[in-house]
Each structure stands twice: as structure tokens, then as C-alpha cells.
């Protein structure tokens, strides 16, 4: 009896050890893939885009929003970005400026043209919807490696491409997700698909990337991003009509003065 218990204990210790080795290797491999994806997209320096967001509700009714923005890579930290809203008409000219950080909350300012006021806003709202869409703020902010922990789960196909499947867990407690599953294209590490699981670990949304184009013979950018919410039946489609790399941007283009005259 004694021997048996000891054996079981030993066995269970062994299996626990094995499990730990396996998880840590799965974590390492997951992080490795996330790092490779980041390296693959390193050095884009600056770009601008114009996009249309189409919101579709359960009954198939559609509304659109248009916006444009410009982005600058910051060495050693997150990116800087400026987004200007073009439609609907009542928000035209409203602009938001974000300094993303690898660790901690981002810095975010909003410019309200009707009262000429720049407001520093709370960036801890990660899970809330962006402009009434199915995209949460955290889905659209720059996806720094440090914002998640990782676990490699296997291989699979997404959009017809062989992909690595990596689970990632948001570090921030204010995230709306327990976990995401990302399909990274094996050939170039661009994301093909992301599944978002809510805090109760049930499937909330699926994001599919398509219409990829390669810029400066390195950087892959999806021209279509389709988010389907499985729980409320709503969809949001982002279509990028114009993307331009290598535009001349400096820190001066991300100052509060620049925010006030952003058009």
C-alpha cells in the first residue's frame, strides 16, 4: 500500500514535471512565433491609410464610417498614431492621437474641433467598442508582443494557408478577453485569422484578414479585415482603400499642435 502511494506520487511528480516542460516549451514556441511575427514587420517606419468601416447588424442593415490615419514606428516602444474621422458628418474633424507603450497603459488624446479642446482620455478602456463597431479598442491598437503571454497549440489552415496556431493571453486585467487564438501564416508570419474568447472562455468573435498586399517588398498589410461577432450576430468590415509607406513623419507630427490641425 505504502509502496503504491509512493509510486503514484513519484509518477504524478514525473508527469507534472513533464507537463511543466511541455507547457514551457509550448510557451517558448508561442513566444518565439510572436517574436518572429514582430521581426517580420519590423522597420516599416511610417505609413498612412484611408479606410471605410461597414457595420452590419443582425437584420443586415448597414452603416458606414470613414477615417484616415498615419502611423510612425518608435524604436524600443510602441507606435505613435493619428486617426482622423471623416464620416459621419457630426464627428468629421475629430481626431485621436495615441502613443502605444509596450508596458502599461497607452497615452491617448482626443481633439474636439467644435470646442477646440484637446482632451487626454483614459486609455484603460480596452474592451469597449470602437465607434459602435464589433472592434474593441484593444483589437485596433498596435499589437505589441509584451501585451500578451503565449502558448503554441499546433498547426492548422486559415484562408487556405498553412499556419501556426498560437494562443495568447492578455496581460492587462482590463482586457475583455481570456484568450485569443492567432493563426500566423507559416511562410511570412502575417496573421490570417484571430479568434477571440471572452472572459468566460466562450467564443466571442472571429477576425479574418484578407486582400493582403506586400509593401516595400517586406511588409504585409491586409486590405480587408472582417470581424464577426458570434454572440450578437453583428459584423464589421474594415476596407483599406489607400496605404502609403515611406511618408515623411517625425515626432513633430504627433504633437498636440499637430493633433489640433490634423485633417
Amino acid at each position: 500500500m505504502k509502496i503504491k502511494t509512493r509510486m503514484i506520487r513519484k509518477l504524478s511528480m514525473l508527469s507534472a514535471g513533464l507537463f511543466m516542460v511541455l507547457t514551457s516549451s509550448a510557451q517558448n514556441k508561442g513566444l518565439e512565433i510572436a517574436n518572429k511575427a514582430e521581426v517580420a514587420d519590423n522597420g516599416w517606419k511610417s505609413y498612412s491609410n484611408t479606410l471605410t468601416m461597414t457595420l452590419t447588424n443582425r437584420n443586415g442593415q448597414q452603416t458606414t464610417r470613414q477615417m484616415h490615419g498615419y502611423f510612425m514606428e518608435v524604436k524600443g516602444d510602441g507606435d505613435k498614431s493619428m486617426t482622423i474621422f471623416d464620416t459621419p458628418a457630426d464627428v468629421k474633424g475629430t481626431a485621436s492621437m495615441t502613443y502605444t507603450h509596450k508596458v502599461g497603459d497607452d497615452d491617448q488624446w482626443l481633439y474636439l474641433p467644435s470646442i477646440k479642446r484637446v482632451k487626454r482620455i483614459s486609455s484603460s478602456n480596452k474592451s469597449g467598442p470602437f465607434m459602435g463597431s464589433e472592434f474593441a479598442f484593444e483589437d485596433l491598437s498596435s499589437q505589441e508582443v509584451e501585451k500578451f503571454t503565449y502558448k503554441y497549440v499546433g498547426e492548422g489552415k486559415a484562408n487556405g494557408f498553412d499556419s501556426y496556431m498560437v494562443e495568447r493571453y492578455p496581460v492587462s486585467k482590463s482586457s475583455g478577453y481570456k484568450r485569443n487564438v492567432v493563426w500566423f501564416n507559416k511562410a511570412n508570419y502575417r496573421p490570417e485569422k484571430i479568434e477571440f474568447y471572452d472572459r468566460k472562455n466562450s467564443l466571442l468573435k472571429t477576425l479574418t484578414f484578407s486582400g493582403y498586399k506586400q509593401y516595400l517588398s517586406k511588409f504585409w498589410r491586409a486590405h480587408k479585415m472582417e470581424m464577426v461577432n458570434h454572440q450578437n450576430g453583428k459584423e464589421t468590415l474594415l476596407q483599406f482603400s489607400k496605404m502609403e509607406f515611406g511618408i515623411a513623419l517625425t515626432d513633430d507630427d504627433f504633437s498636440q499642435n499637430a493633433l489640433k490641425r490634423a485633417r
Partner: protein
């Protein structure tokens, strides 16, 4: 009316120029980009109580047009911005007014900006009281909260090195605050004689005002330090017969501090001023914060709670009545497709119990149409308050805004 005529001419010139460019959204990649748009709004304002003074009404209709022109060239490094403001009030000819909110030329060099013309400048961080915001005169015809501002003629230089932003202002022309006329509500019982306005400065409204501000964002801090020297935007009133009141504008030095600390969902905010005139020294501070519960019950809605306290040692002389007052507010952003928003709250005077409240809600009806509802009113008002004069003017307003 001289000024109004001038405004119309000044507005008509760039508009004619824009029309000459033959397209509202003419676009030429290297050259000039022009945008012209007009906001039109209809307001119906219902006063809960019958008129207090003769000639007043209970229901008011008014119309607002705000044409806006933006022209940029040289990759946006040079621009002209023009914004007109035309209010037509069905009953109150005084409130029917035209203003140039903006008409300026701006040149941008990497760290420098230079602008010349009519501009609107906002300073500050708090919600219930704007103590440090002194550049523009308030449009007293638009609301007793004095939130709407008139365009201020100025030369403005802004320099943004790594250690913040430095703004310098030279303002050659002062503009008077005006209040609703005899037929309007939300006005004092006496008549204001704008033709005999008195100024402390011998140069009257041509006194050159100066202002400087340094502002900076470091980590969680957004800080601003400012100083203004010139004619006070807030009038005092003098009278010899208690029927006609003459506005008096004194000269002042005002130093201001505004600070916001943004830590997660909590925003801490404070503004303080030290103001010196021949007559007296005034110290005032407003401090508080806003906490946001975001994505409330996973509905996507954001709920913000605002609490601010003002202390102002000018006491009852302070025109907005905030001297020892607590503001409790609630902000709700539903974050739906129609951008349904609500902001409401009340202000309670700790000394005399004066209570007033305010709420506004808005919702988009379609891509270019928005509906808004506003309520502003008074509970108990102590006779020592300036607001006592308009205590019977609680109103509900419905607005429809179209964008073209």
C-alpha cells in the same frame, strides 16, 4: 452692427474664393485642398415658467448656421481656416447675431507655428468650471453657462521643443460680452448700455493684451502654466439710475495652472488662478476627477462619474456663481451605432444651498442628421447669487442639426 457687417464681408470673401475653385471638395495632390461645409441647426426652447419680465415669451424658436471653410496647401504646412456663426432668433433681435468664430492664416514649420487672425483657443482640463481659459470672450447670447466663445483677433506663435509647448499671444482688439435683449429670457431685469462701456485702460478696447502659456505631457501628467495681461473678459456693471447698467472692464494679470493626472480609469483634474487687478486680488481653484466604468456589464457602454469642487474668493461677484460649489456629474456613452450620449449633473452651493442642474443628450439619426435634448434649470436660488435674476428661466431645448 458695424462689426456684423465686417464679419459678413470677411466671410463672403473666402467663400467666394472657394466657390471660384468650383468644387466643395476640390483636391489637387500637390497644391490646394479645399473643404467647405455648413452646419445648420434648429432649436426649440421651452421655458417651464411663464415670462417674468414684459416682452418675454415662453417658447422660442431659433436657427443656427455655421459655415466652415478650410484651405490647405504646401502639404498642410500653410492653411486658412474660416468659421462663421449666424444665429437667427425668432423673438429676440439682440440674440440674432453674426460672428466670426475663426478666420486665420497659419504657417507651420517643423517645431513652430505662426497664426494671424480670429481664433478660438481653449485652455484647461476640468469640466464644471473653466478658470484658466481666458483668451476668448464668451458669447453671452448663446447661453448663461458662457461656454460658447467669440473669435479673438490675435497673432499667435507656438513653439514645441522637447520640453513642452510654448504659446505666445498678442491680442490687439477686445470684444464685449453681450446678453439677450429685452425680448429674450435668461437675462437680467435691467438694460445694458453697450455704447457707453467703460474700460480701465485709456486705449479702451484697443488695449493690446498679451498671454503666454507653457504646456507639457510627461507620462501620466498633462500640465499647463499660463499668464495673461490685459482687459478682463468678465464685465462688472455700474449704474447711476438702477435702470441702465454700463459694463466696466478692468485690466488684470492672471496666472493659471492646469493639471491632469491620468491613471487608468481615473482622471484627476485641477485648475487654479491668481488674478490681480487695481481693485482686488482673486484666488480660485477647481479640483476633482472623473472615473470611467468602461464597457459596463459588457454592454459596450461607458459610464463616467464626475466630482469637482470650486472655491473662488470673489464670492457672489463671480459671474458663473461658482464660489463654494460642488459639481456632481454623470456621463454616459452608449457606444452604439447612433453614438447616443448623455451628460448631466447638478451644482450645489455649500454656503447658501443654491442648486442648479443641467443635462444634455444626443443621438445620430442618420449619416448627416443629429437630434439633441438639453435641460437647464434651477432648484433653490439664494438672492445673493447673480443667478437669482434668471431663476425662473428653467428650460428644455430640442435641437436638430444637419450637416452639409
Amino acid at each position: 452692427m458695424e462689426f456684423a457687417r465686417w464679419c459678413v464681408i470677411a466671410l463672403a470673401l473666402p467663400a467666394a474664393w472657394a466657390a471660384g475653385l468650383s468644387a466643395a471638395h476640390a483636391q489637387d495632390d500637390d497644391g490646394l485642398k479645399t473643404e467647405l461645409r455648413v452646419q445648420a441647426r434648429s432649436d426649440v426652447r421651452y421655458f417651464v415658467e411663464p415670462p417674468v419680465y414684459e416682452k418675454q415669451h415662453q417658447v422660442y424658436f431659433s436657427q443656427l448656421f455655421q459655415p466652415e471653410l478650410n484651405m490647405r496647401w504646401n502639404g498642410g504646412k500653410q492653411l486658412i481656416q474660416a468659421t462663421g456663426f449666424i444665429r437667427l432668433d425668432a423673438y429676440d433681435p439682440e440674440r440674432t447675431h453674426v460672428d466670426l468664430r475663426e478666420l486665420y492664416y497659419q504657417a507651420v514649420f517643423s517645431k513652430w507655428e505662426f497664426s494671424l487672425g480670429f481664433k478660438k483657443i481653449f485652455w484647461g482640463v476640468t469640466e464644471s468650471n473653466h478658470l484658466v481659459d481666458v483668451i476668448n470672450q464668451s458669447d453671452g447670447l448663446e447661453g448663461f453657462d458662457l461656454e460658447q466663445k467669440l473669435g479673438q483677433p490675435m497673432a499667435h506663435v507656438s513653439f514645441a521643443p522637447s520640453w513642452g509647448t510654448v504659446d505666445l499671444f498678442m491680442m490687439p482688439l477686445f470684444r464685449q460680452m453681450r446678453f439677450p435683449g429685452e425680448n429674450g429670457r435668461l437675462r437680467p431685469p435691467f438694460l445694458i448700455d453697450y455704447d457707453h462701456t467703460l474700460y480701465e485702460s485709456d486705449a479702451a478696447q484697443k488695449h493690446i493684451d498679451w498671454a503666454a502659456r507653457w504646456s507639457h505631457s510627461v507620462g501620466v501628467f498633462d500640465i499647463g502654466l499660463s499668464h495673461f495681461y490685459g482687459t478682463s473678459r468678465l464685465p462688472l456693471f455700474t449704474t447711476s439710475d438702477f435702470v441702465n447698467f454700463v459694463p466696466f472692464y478692468e485690466l488684470m494679470h492672471q496666472s493659471g495652472l492646469d493639471l491632469q493626472v491620468s491613471t487608468g480609469p481615473m482622471l484627476w483634474k485641477t485648475e487654479a488662478i491668481y488674478r490681480e487687478s487695481e481693485r482686488k486680488i482673486i484666488r480660485a481653484v477647481v479640483a476633482g476627477g472623473e472615473y470611467t466604468f468602461s464597457n459596463l456589464f459588457r454592454s459596450g457602454a461607458d459610464l463616467g462619474l464626475i466630482l469637482e469642487y470650486t472655491y473662488d474668493d470673489r464670492g457672489a461677484e463671480s459671474i458663473n456663481g461658482l464660489n463654494d460649489d460642488i459639481f456632481v456629474g454623470l456621463r454616459l456613452a452608449v457606444n452604439d451605432v447612433q453614438s447616443t450620449d448623455f451628460l448631466g449633473g447638478f451644482i450645489l452651493d455649500d454656503t447658501n444651498g443654491t442648486l442648479r442642474y443641467y443635462a444634455e443628450a444626443s443621438r445620430r439619426l442618420d449619416q448627416s442628421l443629429k437630434i439633441g435634448l438639453e435641460v437647464a434649470g434651477f432648484g433653490f436660488v439664494d438672492p445673493s447669487e447673480f443667478l437669482y435674476l434668471i431663476r425662473k428661466d428653467t428650460y428644455v431645448q430640442l435641437s436638430l442639426t444637419g450637416y452639409f
